[in-house]
Symmetry: C2
Subunit: 353 residues, 2 copies
């Protein structure tokens, strides 16, 4: 997706809360990792999020979207204001900005690796080896915004939310998940709730079965979403690639982040594999306004998102250098907490070493 | 809900797999706990589930439902055949039997207590004190079966699933949850995904806010479902009463069962608080056909469901006797596993002591 040879046009959306702090570190690491690569990153910063909304009343204008579309990739920090801020009552930054980007840029693969790095304390007594990837569908399901209500605010209100699922949308993300499983430990688990959501679930199961027949070497199984949460805490090592819908993927990846030591380490890619639109890389965590501006946030998830970005751009060596630097930093972490910039600097040093 | 004084008409649905084994023990404990109470339980066994379906082709006939409706309460083991059994391909025992009972009998409160009993090994390194109750809505939401598909089986298939939510349905379960919180540690957490499912989520939030104003002494907070799964593994002690929708409740309670030592201990009540229809008590676990008939199943969840049943019938002393007996049995468990009947007998002995 690099249009001018040797130049990557990167849209940077630091966002709200701790977003700008962690993105500053991620950018440092990106610069360090690509310094000698011959690739130049041309960065454009976009001021988007609750802060921008409070200043201008805009969430994501058509002009913003058009400008972002002209880039090769996007790096996003976190968006969202202080919970309960009355001025944001009618703004839905999540839907109007984050989900709008995912939908408008056809990010149909929401890629969320989960790995327990050596040295990271997690909540499980016997975590075992944890190393799996959730391939979460990003453009359909209960997230489409196909809902409404009647008699709103009255005792007779009825509110519906419709999950919309298409064979087109499911097949493409299932194919991506199988391709990924082929390059990993060749195990794929479909997670859904086929016994209750029979229509959507039935279609997911059918398409997984169909694509599975083209991948005889990939072992396929199925779990109901409720059972999947059990295994995530009792035997997370059983998973390699999980493929699931937008809502179940949202839930499973937060839980996965927790069991691997906290969402301060969880990176994600919102990917448009076709390359029609720029893909977007972001930490799984939110904007955490309560600790913003205090250098308390861990930039590791944002930095690991840089590794996913580099990998996506075909810069595998640079991606690996970032991952290795993060792994080394994590392994050497003591109990003392370090300021955001100090963690970033330590990882930059390791990348340069 | 006891119609003839001193007589409780109990419908017993042992079901499939390990259902009959665990229900046999639960019945023993029920008999022991109520022996001197002056209450006589008149039990009717119903043969329902995959086994019955395979024999007769029926899942739940109108006559079955009518007969069950004539009882004061229901005890259910577990239903569901061997996964992948081709003869069950077009049967959906879950929807046609279990969910049909919950919906037809207006079980709008699905009550699922989670408690970490002393002596129980769980997956968390530092579980802390875990003692909360999930009040899961039981008759609405994504479970209503309001879905369908077009162009089924083709590359152009579209499958929708509609979550239907009413103010009537939400308010009543929210009221139940607040009343429960008043009798407990006075803390209530709403779990939903209001930033994405804005219509249903907005109504849940509004009704919780409204009912909260009548309960100034109950501390209320809100968590997105994804964040709630994080807290369930990092700080489950923060929860007292959780109120949530049908699907989120399904997911959270399996996870809660896992963090409190396995769903072999998790009991539940499907409650119609109005008393219009009989309430139904069942272990959260499924029929586990792989270990059926081998005396390998733990009957504790079924026995704890007896405690919920007794409590519901107003037999608080008897309920407490069962809970105490289970707690004592659990505290004395070693690493060795005991046959199903042996666990039941040990708990009966303690109830009688
Ligand atoms: C902020 C929210 C809309 C978002 C989601 O639900 O996808 C977040 O939880 C995530 O997982 O990226
Ligand atoms: C069997 C299934 C339909 C059921 C549900 O989803 O409610 C089960 O998981 C439960 O939690 O009781």
């Amino acid at each position: 997706s690099v249009q001018e040879p040797g130049v990557v046009k990167l849209a940077v959306i630091p966002g709200d809360g701790i977003g700008p702090e962690v993105i500053a570190e991620a950018e440092k690491v990106l610069d360090a990792a690509t310094a000698g690569s011959g690739i130049r990153f041309e960065k454009t910063h976009f001021s988007l999020g609750a802060t921008r909304f409070l200043e201008t009343g805009d969430t994501l204008t058509d002009a913003d979207l058009e400008a972002i579309r002209g880039h090769d990739a996007i790096l996003l920090g976190a968006v969202g204001g202080v919970p309960g801020d009355p001025r944001l009552k009618d703004a839905n930054i999540e839907r109007g900005l984050l989900l709008k980007l995912r939908f408008e840029l056809d990010h149909y693969v929401n890629l969320r690796p989960s790995k327990l790095y050596p040295g990271v304390p997690g909540p499980l007594a016997e975590p075992g080896d944890i190393d799996f990837v959730v391939v979460r569908e990003g453009t359909e399901g209960p997230y489409v915004g196909n809902g409404g209500s009647i008699r709103r605010g009255t005792p007779h209100e009825v509110a519906n939310e419709t999950s919309v699922n298409t064979a087109y949308g499911i097949e493409r993300v299932v194919r991506y998940a199988f391709d990924l499983a082929e390059r990993r430990r060749k195990k794929l688990t479909l997670v859904h709730k086929t016994n209750v959501l029979v229509h959507a679930g039935g279609m997911w199961q059918r398409l997984v079965d169909e694509v599975a027949s083209e991948h005889p070497d990939v072992a396929v199984d199925y779990l109901h979403v409720d059972a999947a949460t059990i295994f995530l805490v009792t035997n997370p090592g059983r998973f390699d690639v999980i493929v699931t819908d937008n809502l179940f993927g949202d839930i499973l990846t937060d839980l996965a982040g927790a069991v691997t030591g906290g969402i301060g380490l969880a990176a994600s890619g919102n990917i448009n594999p076709d390359g029609t639109f720029p893909s977007m890389f972001e930490p799984v965590h939110g904007s955490a306004p309560d600790i913003a501006g205090q250098q308390k946030a861990d930039p590791t998830a944002a930095i690991l998102s840089i590794a996913l970005l580099l990998d996506h751009l075909g810069l595998q060596d640079e991606a690996l250098a970032v991952t290795r630097a993060v792994e080394a930093d994590i392994a050497g972490r003591g109990a003392a907490s370090r300021p955001t910039a100090q963690i970033g600097d330590a990882i930059v040093d390791r990348v340069q070493a």
